[in-house]
């Protein structure tokens, strides 16, 4: 169905952001409502009510709703998911508790780990065994399974995860378990590991399946309620749920695989940046988002948003790998850094300045918020440096107190280091940029990317304030700041096509691979994906095939996209060349005398591209220069006069020479003395070092 409106809705930790695109008038309407944690659909309906003031009964004219939610990840973090049981091969029920056995901190004797989502008394082993080559050694003991089912029903389990050894190779036993349990426990949700993640490695597979099971009842309840509320408002279009991998899917699929939507929060911003990158004809770009507690970086090098396969949720230490619950599922390949507007500055054990990763969060927040925070944060430093206007934060709805910032910086940083609060503020700002740059360099090196050749696209409340410093440290020459950078995620949702992906472990040396057989496995995957997409009311516009490949004996696979032609045509020689080139690009050189091995086959199906949410816009006609104020200039190491510019009043093509500060409601962009700024016809702000 086509309609006048498209609605994007992003539920975040503090705010629910809405974007309504009026396709008739090419206008974007933004709304922010507080998130209602106890039932997020209330916050969604508050936003709907706000739009109804402008466009009564607009939902009846709305074609699609793109919805992203933190419901799943919050359920895991807050432990508010369903009472869940796990069924494994007998002897392996502790797989999710034994974990990797590795410590995430070498020296910390007091380190804590997340307790398993399924406690041990709800984990059951069942007699059965399939060998690594798929042969059945011991048939499934159905009587044992039935006893488990009765017990599970008695104690009120709402959801069951099933993960049997080698099910990625042969799912027959898991299917038998599914069939029996579906018959015996019709009210209980089931998550089967071979369907959630048919990939070798029982710990990662079980952990992923358990997260899926743990959040499934909640997800079903929420999405069904939301659908009902929308229908009551006359909505006849399609609700699409954002996936962690950047696409969107139907409510049905999201309910079956909630683990695939778990990390959809940052996806909208990255999707928007990817769209900007293609529209602006950039070869590659760094999507950089900086919010209150973290910064996020994604390297956009190809035609699609880059994907990774594993990550962690609910970490005990947010930035320590290994302190959380591992998940394997397609997600945007994102770097999260513990530097945000709320990051606390102080003096570390060596007497040196430190910024983050502790964050003041929204409460008590930075000292300048006046909510009781006394410790200096990055936002306090930015305010003291003159980059933020104390009377125009969030469009002036929230006055800031620079004296509180100065006092916090003096008491916790400047006095110890023997410098003025202003210079200490620059230290905090600069160190925050350095932390982000250092992390970005490591991240880029791991991916064979060269930041100096890329354009930085900055979003998030604090992103445009820090973009200039980050770019200078990375050697990036050009910055783009999209309009409404503070709600980029919800805008980006509107650009997400329907998609679904599948993975299948199929280990074969390249020399022993049977290309016709690989073709048939891909065909089987494409059939399943087409079914899923059609259920979401879409068709498949294209398939992207890729393989995970490594040298035989290596432990780390690299993901290689296959060209869109039959494997037979490519031939093994063509595959070999492709693999070698990919390896060289990542690691500098390929190895001679070593053979490649294919480990996993991956297929992604995508619906048709959606229209860009960025529409041509015109200057507001207000005076462009709002005034001037002193702000810190890194070159001079002192405060200099900056002109203050109203972003919405800049005519396309007008060049602004730094030093300048460009303000809009949701964010502030700093243009230093060595830069110029210009707005294009889509409202994108382009910054360039002279």
């Amino acid at each position: 169905m086509s309609g006048r409106f498209l609605l994007g809705c992003d539920i975040g930790g503090t705010f629910t952001d809405f974007v309504l695109l009026d396709q008739e008038n090419d206008e974007l309407h933004l709304v922010k409502c507080p998130t209602t944690a106890e039932d997020p659909s209330n916050g969604v309906m508050d936003g709907i009510a706000a739009y109804e003031q402008l466009f009564p009964e607009f939902l009846a004219e709305t074609e699609r709703v793109h919805h992203g939610t933190t419901l799943v990840i919050n359920a895991v973090i807050e432990r508010s998911g369903a009472k869940t049981a796990l069924i494994t091969t007998k002897g392996f029920r502790d797989v999710i508790e034994i974990g990797s056995e590795r410590r995430y901190d070498v020296y910390d004797l007091q380190q804590q780990y997340p307790s398993p989502l399924v406690p041990r008394h709800l984990r059951f082993g069942v007699t059965e065994r399939i060998r690594s080559d798929g042969m059945v050694l011991t048939p499934l003991d159905l009587r044992e399974l039935e006893a488990i089912a009765r017990h599970v029903a008695d104690i009120g389990v709402e959801s069951v995860a099933v993960c049997l050894l080698h099910s990625y190779r042969d799912a027959a036993h898991e299917e038998q378990v599914e069939e029996r349990l579906a018959a015996l426990l019709p009210e209980v949700e089931l998550s089967i590991s071979a369907q959630v993640l048919p990939e070798i490695n029982e710990y990662a597979r079980a952990s992923t399946t358990v997260v899926n099971a743990y959040t499934k009842p909640l997800m079903r309840g929420y999405l069904e309620r939301l659908e009902r509320l929308f229908t009551e408002k006359g909505f006849g279009g399609q609700i699409l749920i954002m996936l962690s991998s950047g696409g969107a899917t139907s409510i049905d699929t999201a309910v079956r695989f909630p683990v695939r939507v778990i990390e959809s929060g940052p996806v909208g911003g990255v999707t928007l940046c990817q769209g900007i990158k293609s529209r602006s004809g950039l070869g590659s770009a760094i999507a950089f988002d900086m919010g209150g507690t973290t910064a996020k970086v994604c390297l956009l090098q190809g035609d699609e948003v880059p994907l990774a396969n594993d990550y962690e949720v609910a970490r005990v230490h947010r930035f320590k790998r290994g302190s959380g619950i591992p998940i394997k599922a397609s997600c945007v390949d994102l770097l999260e850094i513990g530097t945000g507007g709320g990051s606390i500055a102080g003096i570390g054990p060596l007497g040196l300045l430190q910024v983050g990763p502790q964050s003041a969060g929204a409460t008590p927040g930075p000292a300048c918020y006046g909510f009781g925070g006394t410790k200096p944060t990055t936002t306090d430093a930015d305010l003291l440096l003159g980059y933020l206007d104390p009377s125009y934060f969030l469009g002036g709805t929230m006055p800031l107190d620079p004296d509180a910032s100065r006092e916090a910086l003096r008491a916790h940083v400047a006095d110890q280091l023997g410098m003025t609060p202003e210079l200490a503020a620059w230290g905090v700002h600069d160190l925050a940029n350095e932390s982000m740059a250092a992390a970005t360099r490591v991240f880029a090196a791991e991916r064979g990317a060269d930041p100096t050749k890329m354009t930085l696209i900055a979003t998030g409340g604090a992103g445009p304030v820090h973009a200039r410093g980050l770019a200078a440290k990375l050697g990036v020459g050009r910055i783009i700041v999209p309009p409404a950078a503070g709600v980029a995620s919800a805008i980006g949702f509107l650009a997400a096509p329907v998609s679904f992906d599948l993975v299948q472990t199929h280990k074969r040396a390249l020399s022993e691979a049977n290309l016709a057989h690989l073709e048939s496995l891909f065909a089987e995957q494409s059939r399943k994906i087409a079914e899923t997409l059609e259920a979401a009311g879409g068709e498949v516009a294209r398939f992207d095939r890729s393989v995970d490949v490594r040298y035989i004996g290596q432990g780390h696979e690299i993901r290689i996209a296959l060209p869109d032609k039959p494997l037979a045509e490519l031939g093994k020689a063509g595959l070999l060349t492709l693999f070698q080139q990919s390896y060289e690009r990542l690691y500098g050189s390929a190895l001679s005398g070593n053979e490649f091995e294919i480990v996993n086959l991956r297929l992604t199906g995508r619906g048709p591209e959606t229209a860009s949410p960025l529409r041509p816009r015109q200057a507001s006609g207000d005076p462009m220069i709002k005034g001037e104020r002193p702000a810190f200039c890194p070159n001079e190491q002192d405060f200099v006069r900056h002109i203050v510019v109203d972003r919405y009043a800049i005519d396309p093509g007008v060049r602004i020479e730094g030093p300048a500060i460009i303000e809009e409601r949701e964010s502030t962009t700093v243009v230093d003395a060595r830069m110029t700024a210009e707005v294009d016809e889509l409202g994108l702000l382009h910054l360039q070092f002279v």
């Binding site: 901190d105 804590q112 041990r120 040196l352 250092a438 791991e446 432990g555």
Partner: protein
């Protein structure tokens, strides 16, 4: 040119150096070949200044590797004076007395030049899959334990010394794997060197000296502050270790003397080196002593040359913690990894909040299972399974966690794909932890069966295991109970460890690691926690009633 560093600039520069070390570490994990490197992460990287002082380490290291490499940097200059080094040189050694104490650990170090001057060294230690020699700790001399590589030039000005590669290839069981790993080790050092040069270029620095000296100074001060918090005095500990059933025990003794902000550690009274491959070289002893001290007084400080300055360490020559050539040393984990617990035990009276009870995690259970598939192809797998961490002053020990080393287990599904062996069980073991106000982490059962069907191996499978605590279990602290000892059984019969053991088709071998000791009186444990452990089958009804004093454990 000396430069002064502002506290802000210093932190910015230092975070770059640390991130280079982390990059080096990530690079190895992605490019290495053997399972022990890539999956178990049994390697360490380190950055050294031009004089050979430890500059920085990645977040994840094995303490022994880092300690060994750092000690080696002090003597490599005697073999190859640093001023004679050229761009593209790489020095290799696995000498246990120079480096980390057993032959599988091979160190390679490469000088880094910038603006024509030596500015740093990039080094790494890999625990290689094989170095030849006997697979067992029933060795009498190091000569039986494999190929010894004295400090040699593996590359000269970028040219490989092919003779050394050929000698290594001829002496190991899996030459292709070992040579590939050595080459990826060198490639990763080139990567690290490039990063260091890039950093100096960007910061417009001629060298790292002034930056490094300031960081060492600040680290030293912080460590001294940590030591100062311990009241002056002499603190002693003693520990009896078993080498398996029917084997003589080994006695370790430690005396710690704290004077102001300095610490002197003396191992006098420790038993003599033995004719079994469990002896520790002094470097290894030092590494684990340092680990024990740092984890108590300064767990969140960076590790560098400054940290060790307030410490003095002594161990009598010829004792098992300062073994002399040609003592056998292959399984030195069995003894040396106990050293941190000696430190904890000695300081438990003055640092009761910081110390933890003894852990079933140590010593590391290092297992290799090798043989031939039915078709004749060889296989080698090294499954890893840990015991439980000791209880802490405010929380239970973590179940199945490596400590004090830091490596990762490998999936059963991967092990079964790479060998014909079947794992029948990998599960937490009820009542394996010591009880207390906080209980120890649990140990686990890892049960392997050799198939006797069409996939039965062509020859008996060799099980080589270095383990410990199979007689004396991990001790509890402050009125808690000890954990029961670990065990190894073949078809229900208890066996020892260290000697190679042959497994035939149909045999079933069960490895049971110990849990950690408890902390505090079990009767004071939160009753809800006792009931929860009972519900979860972590403790038996009998233990709940008899040890924890739960009234109604039904």
């Amino acid at each position: 040119m000396p430069r002064t560093h502002s506290p802000v600039g210093l932190e910015i520069a230092w975070s770059r150096i640390t991130s280079i070390a982390d990059e080096a570490d990530a690079n190895v994990a992605r490019t290495a070949f053997s399972s022990i490197i890539r999956d178990s992460h049994d390697y360490s990287c380190g950055l050294y200044d031009a004089r050979g002082n430890l500059l920085s380490q990645p977040a994840s290291v094995a303490p022994a590797h880092l300690g060994g490499m750092t000690a080696a940097m002090k003597v490599l200059g005697d073999h190859f004076p640093f001023e004679t080094l050229r761009e593209g040189d790489a020095i290799v050694t696995n000498d246990p007395w120079i480096m980390s104490g057993h032959l599988p650990d091979i160190m390679i170090v490469m000088p880094v030049f910038h603006r024509g001057r030596l500015v740093a060294h990039a080094g790494s230690v890999f625990h290689h899959q094989d170095v030849g020699g006997h697979l067992g700790t029933d060795t009498r001399e190091v000569f039986e334990e494999g190929l010894q590589i004295p400090p040699c030039m593996l590359y000269r000005a970028g040219q490989a010394n092919e003779d050394i590669f050929r000698i290594i290839a001829q002496n190991v069981r899996v030459p292709e794997l070992v040579i590939n790993d050595l080459k990826s080790q060198v490639a990763s050092l080139h990567f690290t060197a490039g990063r260091i040069r890039g950093f100096l270029e960007e910061q417009d620095l001629d060298d790292l000296e002034s930056l490094a000296d300031e960081i060492y100074q600040r680290t030293e001060t912080a460590v001294r502050r940590g030591i100062e918090k311990i009241p002056d005095g002499v603190y002693s500990a003693e520990k009896l270790l078993d080498l398996g059933p029917d084997e003589p025990n080994v006695r370790l003794k430690l005396r710690l003397e704290i004077t102001g902000d300095e610490l002197f550690a003396d191992f006098a009274g420790t038993g003599p080196q033995v004719e079994r491959g469990v002896n520790c070289v002094f470097n290894y002893t030092t590494a684990y002593l340092l680990f024990g001290i740092m984890s108590l007084v300064a767990p969140f400080l960076p590790s560098n040359a400054g940290a060790v300055r307030p410490l003095r360490i002594a161990a009598p020559e010829g004792c098992i913690l300062n073994a002399q050539r040609p003592a056998p040393v292959i399984g030195r984990t069995a003894i040396g990894q106990n050293i941190p617990e000696l430190v904890f035990s000695a300081l438990s009276s003055v640092l009761p909040e910081e110390v933890i009870a003894e852990s079933g995690s140590l010593p590391l259970w290092w297992l290799t299972l090798s043989g031939q598939r039915a078709g004749g192809e060889p296989f080698v797998v090294g499954p890893m399974f840990s015991g439980g961490l000791g209880a802490r002053s405010g929380s239970d020990g973590v179940s199945t966690l490596t400590f004090p080393t830091n490596i990762m287990n490998n999936p059963v599904e991967a092990m079964e794909s790479e060998s014909p062996l079947l794992v029948e069980r990998r599960e937490l073991l009820e009542d394996s932890a010591g009880a207390g106000r906080y209980r120890g982490g649990l140990g686990q059962a890892f049960v392997v069966r050799v198939p006797d069907d069409d996939t039965a191996p062509a020859r008996p499978v060799v099980s080589f295991l270095v383990a410990g605590r199979t007689v004396i279990g991990p001790k509890g602290l402050f009125g808690a109970t000890d954990a029961p000892p670990a065990a190894i059984e073949v078809n229900g019969q208890t066996i020892g460890w260290g000697r190679p053991y042959l497994l035939n088709p149909g045999d079933r071998i069960a490895y049971r690691t110990a849990g950690g000791g408890g902390y505090g009186n079990p009767k004071e444990r939160d009753r809800d926690k006792v009931r929860e452990d009972l519900l979860n089958g972590l403790i038996s009804p009998q233990a709940a009633r008899d040890i924890y004093g739960l009234d109604d454990p039904s």
